[in-house]
């Protein structure tokens, strides 16, 4: 009988392969992207991965829509930066590399305290209470300026204490590797959590809380425990942020930050474990690169989010998994043309819409420098009729073509799915 469980066992070859690959990527990536900007971005990605995965313990695994996750990352950041200052002052005798754990325990402590109230409810009341908690903590950040540092925030210096084998955490690369190590351990720990009895019962609570009460579990207790675990990892992420930036301001507990965790966890895909990892990488790319590229970046982000909610509610991860399934039946090749068509027509829509958005932003913000602007190498007149009609025409044409290709694609996709179903059936009977 035992051989039948083999595939569930915690040790197997494919899993070892994936985790080794993950470790390898974490080690090698900063050797490929060497600029100081990319090392900072990679560090931020590591932190965002931990934060989004910790958020997904609530959203994806527990069905708890929290609007206040930044409370736990943010308070973790504050405790960590105060700890860092205490280390520098010689009060706290711990190495700098352990400071993120202080953030983690802070997150855990606040989750124990605040989560006791929030997790008494589920569903919409839960969401409301988290929103209230977030506002409460943000308001407190303005009230207690000794702890939160007021407008200027709290700053520190991570080059404190005794260097350990010559590691001072002065150079950004050293900080990156510290963050990478934490990222690896935290991702592994959070993955392991999904394979434990509590992790599975948490899924059951997400699916059908009422039924869980009738198989012996207190759903409130399950939610609370998951909330506290999530708070711990959120705090670790916050603590790492303090080490990276050496400054913490009140925005880290703000609603904007909480919203970003929600948005990018969803974009990456809450239904698969690795979804939030993709989301976290996108988050950093959007915040650092897209914001450089255009002033209207939040607007584009909002559009993408809406589009995903409507057409791909499972996020990028579910798109990846659906296509992998098609590929495993050797049918992906048939879809290439459609994908190319979808991509090209979507780009045309984006080009038209983007031109108009940029013209509006130009009129509102840069009107003083004149009427002309350059959009992807195309000269536009922000108040000229030609530019507007042209952009609108491009967008509408794109929309029409996109809709045609989308319908075609939908049909083709449906056919392929039925073919796959048939093949599965015939395999079962064979």
């Amino acid at each position: 009988m035992t051989t039948r469980f083999y595939e569930f066992k915690s040790f197997n070859l494919a899993r070892w392969g994936i985790w080794s690959l993950f470790a390898l990527v974490l080690i090698v990536v900063p050797l490929l992207f060497k600029s100081s900007l990319s090392v900072t971005m990679l560090s931020q990605m590591g932190i965002a991965i931990i934060a989004c995965l910790s958020y997904n313990i609530l959203l994806g695994q527990g069905g708890m829509l929290s609007f206040g996750h930044a409370v736990y990352t943010g308070l973790g950041s504050y405790m960590a930066i105060h700890a860092l200052n205490a280390v520098a002052a010689g009060i706290l005798p711990i190495p700098v590399s352990l400071v993120p754990l202080i953030g983690g325990f802070a997150g855990l402590g606040f989750a124990l305290l605040l989560g006791f109230v929030t997790t008494r409810k589920s569903g919409t009341p839960f969401a409301m209470i988290t929103l209230g908690m977030a506002e409460l903590v943000f308001a407190m950040s303005l009230m207690f300026s000794e702890f939160f540092g007021g407008e200027a925030g709290v700053s520190s210096n991570r080059v404190s204490g005794q260097p350990f084998f010559g590691i001072t955490f002065g150079p950004p690369l050293q900080v990156y590797y510290l963050i990478a190590a934490y990222t690896f351990v935290c991702v592994a720990a959070m993955y392991a959590f999904t394979r434990t009895p509590l992790g599975r019962i948490l899924n059951a609570v997400r699916d059908n809380p009422e039924r869980v009460e009738f198989i012996g579990y207190n759903t409130q207790r399950v939610r609370y425990m998951a909330f506290v675990i999530s708070g711990f990892f959120a705090g670790v992420a916050g603590g790492l942020g303090s080490l990276l930036f050496e400054i913490v301001t009140a925005e880290v507990v703000g609603a904007g930050r909480s919203g970003a965790y929600l948005l990018f966890t969803f974009l990456g895909g809450a239904t698969f474990f690795f979804g939030p990892i993709l989301g976290a990488i996108l988050m950093v790319l959007a915040f650092v690169l897209l914001s450089e590229f255009t002033k209207a970046w939040l607007l584009y982000l909002g559009l993408i989010f809406m589009f995903m909610v409507m057409y791909a509610p499972g996020g990028i991860a579910s798109l990846v998994m659906m296509n992998l399934r098609v590929a495993s039946f050797g049918k992906l090749r048939a879809l290439w043309v459609s994908y190319l068509g979808l991509a090209v027509t979507a780009l045309v829509v984006l080009l038209g819409a983007g031109a108009m958005i940029e013209m509006i932003y130009h009129l509102q913000l840069n009107a003083a420098v004149g009427d002309e602007l350059n959009f992807m190498g195309i000269p536009l007149q922000a108040s000229g009729l030609n530019s507007w009609v042209g952009s609108a025409l491009v967008m509408l044409t794109g929309l029409g073509l996109f809709e045609v290709t989308r319908r075609q694609f939908k049909l083709q996709w449906g056919e392929i799915q039925t073919e796959i179903e048939k093949e599965i059936k015939s395999r079962e009977t064979a």
């Binding site: 009895p197 599975r200 009460e213 012996g216």
Partner: protein
């Protein structure tokens, strides 16, 4: 066997009452079910059968009266507490974990009773007893081949079977089944009833059932519930002969069933 509180029964209701607002739905129901008995609860629509189940399983709290499970008073206890004391129930409307596989559904059902509780320091994969028990259950409810199919992708009859599987998974000795065959075809019902008989051997079973043929085939005893009271509680033959019951409720249904059985 007589327990401390003086009840020799697996499940006992004493003058149980439940009001919603001013309306009294259960009006002094009393019932005593011995261990190992199979009891069918019948009665017209709105008689309070489902409410009775909801009171016993802890979904609602009784207004007055007592519920004793293996001699212990369970009024006002939470569903999970009652479940831990050895009572498990199924639902009229299928109530499974739709996004978990058949195997995972069943494994969730066995975890508490095997003592794993809220642990997050052990891997599910290493819990050989839980995995073995889940596989056994899967075999019992004949869903071996659907092991990795998500609950929501099963057929209706399969979902009903899974519902029973989750209900018996924890090894409770008192089982409540709320209309287990609702919405099934005749042939499915017959198969399903033999499945229920099989998986509840040695357990105390209470089931709400509308199909009279099923009732007379499955039950050792029948409880007739009318207007929130237990009008009669006896063997099928005695209930059939009971004039009060015939007058209040059964009438043509008994005649139909007799015609069907004989």
């Amino acid at each position: 066997m007589v327990n401390a509180s003086g009840s020799a029964y697996a499940l006992e209701l004493r003058d149980l009452r439940k009001s919603f607002g001013k309306t009294e739905i259960i009006r002094g129901a009393s019932l005593a079910v011995a261990a190992g008995e199979r009891v069918a609860i019948i009665g017209p629509n709105g008689a309070g059968k489902s409410t009775l189940f909801n009171l016993i399983s802890g979904r609602f709290e009784p207004t007055s009266g007592d519920i004793l499970l293996n001699g212990e008073r369970i009024n006002g206890k939470k569903p999970f507490e009652i479940n831990r004391m050895g009572l498990s129930r199924s639902f009229q409307i299928t109530n499974i974990f739709p996004k978990l596989s058949v195997f995972e559904n069943l494994r969730c059902g066995v975890l508490w009773s095997l003592g794993y509780k809220y642990t997050f320091l052990k891997f599910l994969a290493d819990l050989d007893d839980a995995n073995e028990r889940a596989l056994q259950l899967m075999h019992m409810i004949k869903l071996d081949k659907k092991r990795d199919v998500l609950g929501m992708n099963l057929t209706y009859a399969e979902q009903r079977a899974l519902e029973i599987g989750i209900t018996i998974a924890g090894g409770a000795n008192v089982i409540l089944l709320d209309e287990p065959t609702a919405g099934m075809s005749r042939s499915e019902t017959t198969r399903f009833i033999s499945l229920i008989k099989e998986v509840t051997i040695g357990k105390t079973l209470l089931t709400v059932e509308h199909d009279m043929g099923v009732v007379f085939g499955l039950a050792d005893k029948i409880a007739v519930v009318v207007y929130g009271e237990v009008l009669a509680f006896d063997t099928p033959d005695a209930v059939r002969a009971n004039a009060k019951v015939q007058e209040a409720y059964l009438g043509s249904a008994v005649a139909d069933a007799q015609a069907g059985v004989h």
